[in-house]
Amino acid sequence: MRKYISAILVVGMILINFGFMSPEKAFAASLTSVSDTVTNLTASATAGHTIKFTTPTGIPASKTIVLTFNNSTATTGVTASDVTVLDNVAPITVNAGAPTTTNWGFTNASPVITFTTGTGTIAAGHTITITFNGTNKITNGVVGTTTLAISGTMADSGVLSMAIIANGVVAVSASVLGSISFTVSSNSIYFGNLRTGGPCFAQNTDPGNVTCPTVAEAEAFNMIAGTNAPTGYTISVQGDTLTSGANSIAALASNTASTPGTAQFGLRMTATGGSGVVSAPYAASGYAYTGTTSTAAPVASYTGPSANTTYSVRYLANIAALTPAGSYTTAHTYVATGNF
C-alpha cells in the first residue's frame, strides 16, 4: 500500500515540477509581470499610473483587489471615472461603490484603492491593466522608494517598487534672435548725359562724359532683404529727385510711363525670391518717385517672416528741351525696417 502511495506521490511531483500541472492553480500565488508606469516620478507631482499584473490563479467573482501605496502617496480625489480596467484587452467597466453585475466596484480611501470584482471572473494567467489617467490623478509622495502592494481577497498578491525622485523633468531652453538682412549692390549709379530724344536709365558704372549709355530699362542696382520678424519688414527710400542747385528734374508722383522730351525722374522695382513684394507706385511698369529729403517713401515690404527677396531697381530720367544745363545729382537712402 505504501509503495502504491509513494508511486502516486512521485508521479504527482513530477507532473508538478515539469509543468504538467501547477499547484498555483489551486492555491495563492505571487502576481507576475507586475509593473506601474508612472508618468512623472517627481516627488509631490500628480501623475498617471498604468498598473499591470498577471494573476496566476485568476480572480473569482466578488473578490477585492486592493492597491495600497505608501511613502505619502495620495489617491485623494481619484474616482471611478478616472480609471480604466482591462482584462487582457477586454475592458471592464468600473463604477463607484459596490460592483454592479459585471461592473467592478471602486472605493478610494487614500492611499488605498479597492476594486471589487462583479459577477464576472478573471481567468488564470490573464493580465489586468488598471490605468489611472483621468481628470483626478494620483499624487506622488516624497523622495524615496515607493511601493504599491496589490492584495485583497483575491488569491494572488504582489508588490512593486518605484523610485520617486526630487525632479524627473529636464527643462530645455533656447533663444532665437530677431534677425534682418539687407544689402545694396551698388552705392553709385550713373545716367551719363541726359537727353531729350529718348529715355535714359541709370547704370552702376560711371560712363564718363557720355550721353545716356543705357537707353533700355536695366537694373541700376539691387537690394536683398529677409527677416524672421513675425510681421515682416518694410523698405523705404528717402531723398530728393535729381537736382542741380535750384534746378531739379520733376519726380513722377504716380506710376507713369516714360515720356522722352519731358522732365521725368522715377524708379520701379521687380522682386524675386522670398516673400517680399514691391509697393505701389513702384510695382507697375511705369515709374514714380515720391520720396523727399524729409519723407521716406515705402518701396517694398512683407507682412511676415521672409526668406531673402531680391529687388531689382531701375531708375529713369528724361529731360525737356528747356531743362537747365548742369550736373544733377541726388542721394537716396534705403532703409529696411524689421517689424518685430
Partner: protein, 336 residues
C-alpha cells in the same frame, strides 16, 4: 522503524528534494544571513530561541527563558529586518505549540493544527518591497539565502535544532526590490539657435556648436524583467512657433532646417538605448501626452546604467524670434 517506513521516508525526501531543485528562481536575493549564536552575542534580529542545539524545544524571541539563550537564530544583512508577526510585511517561519510561546514543538507554516494556532515565529521587514520567503526542504537550503534551523520532523510536532542537527532544513530568503533613477541635471540650454549650424544643449545653458552631453540619467533595478526608460514632452516651443521634432527616424538634422532631437549613449549595466535614439544621429517622437521609449533592459542585474543624453536643435531663417522652451519628463518603469 520498519524497512517499509524507511523506504517511504526516503521516497518522500527524494520527492521533496527533486521538487525543490526544479522550482525556478527568478529573483535576485538580498543577503539575508542567519546563524546560531547566544542571545547576548546576537547583533541582528532573533527569529527563534532554542533550548539546545538539537532535540530542542522552541520559544519566541519575545521570551527570555535563560536556557533558551545559548542557541538563538540570529539574522542580519537586510535593512529593516524584524521578527514581528504584526508587521504588514511578514512571513511565518514556524508555528509553535501551546499558548505560552516557550517550551514548544514546531510545525511548518502551512500546517493548521489547532494546538499551534496561537503562537508563531515570524520574519518581517519594514520595507514592503522586500519579498520574504520561507521554505522547508531536505538536506540543504539551496535556492535560499540562509538556513534558519532544522526540524526533527517534516511537517508538525517537531523538535528543533541548529541547522546541522536534522535533515529537515528551515530556509529563508529576502528578495529586496530595488529601483533607482536619477537625473544629474534638470535644466539645460542651447543658447541662441542659428540657421547656420547645429546647436547642442549644455548644462550651463549656453549651448555648444559641438556635440556634448546635455545631462545623464542613471537607472538600476533588480526587477526580474528589467525596466523601460521613457520620455514625454513637446519639442521646443514659443507660443505657436515650434522647432520641428525630428520624429522617429534617426538622422543628422540639416543645417538651416527646423529640427529638435535627442540621442543617448549607454554605459554600464545591462540597459541599452533603443531605436531611434541609439544611432549617431538624433530623433524625437514623443509629445506631452505620448511618451516614447528611450532605453530598456530585459532583465534587472542591479547594476547601474548611465545614459548620456545629447540634445540637438537647429532652425531655419524664418523662425520667429523669442525664447523657446520645453519640459522633458523622464520616467522609469521597473517590471517586477
Amino acid at each position: 522503524m520498519s524497512i517499509l517506513n524507511r523506504k517511504f521516508i526516503k521516497y518522500l525526501f527524494s520527492i521533496v528534494f527533486i521538487a525543490i531543485v526544479f522550482i525556478p528562481f527568478s529573483y535576485l536575493y538580498a543577503a539575508l544571513s542567519c546563524s546560531i549564536t547566544t542571545s547576548a552575542a546576537c547583533t541582528g534580529t532573533v527569529l527563534l530561541r532554542m533550548s539546545g542545539s538539537t532535540n530542542a524545544h522552541a520559544e519566541l524571541p519575545s521570551q527570555s527563558t535563560a536556557t533558551y539563550a545559548t542557541n538563538v537564530v540570529c539574522c542580519n544583512g537586510v535593512t529593516g529586518l524584524g521578527n514581528s508577526c504584526a508587521a504588514s510585511n511578514n512571513v511565518t517561519i514556524a508555528r509553535l505549540s501551546g499558548s505560552t510561546g516557550t517550551n514548544a514543538h514546531v510545525e511548518k507554516n502551512d500546517q493548521t493544527n489547532t494546538n499551534y494556532n496561537s503562537q508563531k515565529a515570524c520574519l518581517s521587514s519594514t520595507f514592503a518591497g522586500d519579498v520574504l520567503t520561507v521554505g522547508y526542504q531536505a538536506t540543504n537550503c539551496t535556492g535560499y539565502d540562509t538556513t534558519l534551523f532544522s526540524m526533527s520532523g517534516t511537517t508538525t510536532n517537531s523538535q528543533v535544532g541548529i541547522p546541522t542537527a536534522y535533515n529537515n532544513k528551515v530556509c529563508a530568503k529576502v528578495v529586496s526590490q530595488s529601483v533607482t533613477f536619477n537625473l544629474n541635471n534638470n535644466s539645460v540650454g542651447f543658447g541662441n539657435l542659428v540657421p547656420t549650424g547645429l546647436r547642442y544643449a549644455t548644462s550651463d545653458g549656453l549651448g555648444s556648436s559641438s556635440e556634448t552631453e546635455s545631462y545623464n540619467i542613471t537607472v538600476s533595478t533588480n526587477a526580474a524583467s528589467g525596466y523601460g526608460l521613457y520620455v514625454s514632452g513637446d519639442s521646443l516651443k514659443n507660443g505657436a512657433a515650434v522647432v520641428t521634432p525630428i520624429g522617429g527616424t534617426n538622422i543628422t538634422p540639416s543645417v538651416g532646417s527646423k529640427a529638435f532631437g535627442i540621442r543617448a549613449v549607454a554605459t554600464g549595466g545591462s540597459g541599452a538605448v533603443v531605436t531611434p535614439y541609439n544611432g549617431t544621429g538624433f530623433a524625437y517622437d514623443a509629445t506631452s501626452s505620448t511618451p516614447t521609449t528611450v532605453a530598456s533592459s530585459s532583465s534587472g542585474d542591479g547594476v547601474t546604467t548611465t545614459y548620456s543624453v545629447r540634445t540637438v536643435a537647429t532652425i531655419d531663417s524664418l523662425l520667429n524670434p523669442g525664447n523657446y522652451s520645453t519640459n522633458l519628463t523622464y520616467f522609469v518603469t521597473a517590471n517586477f
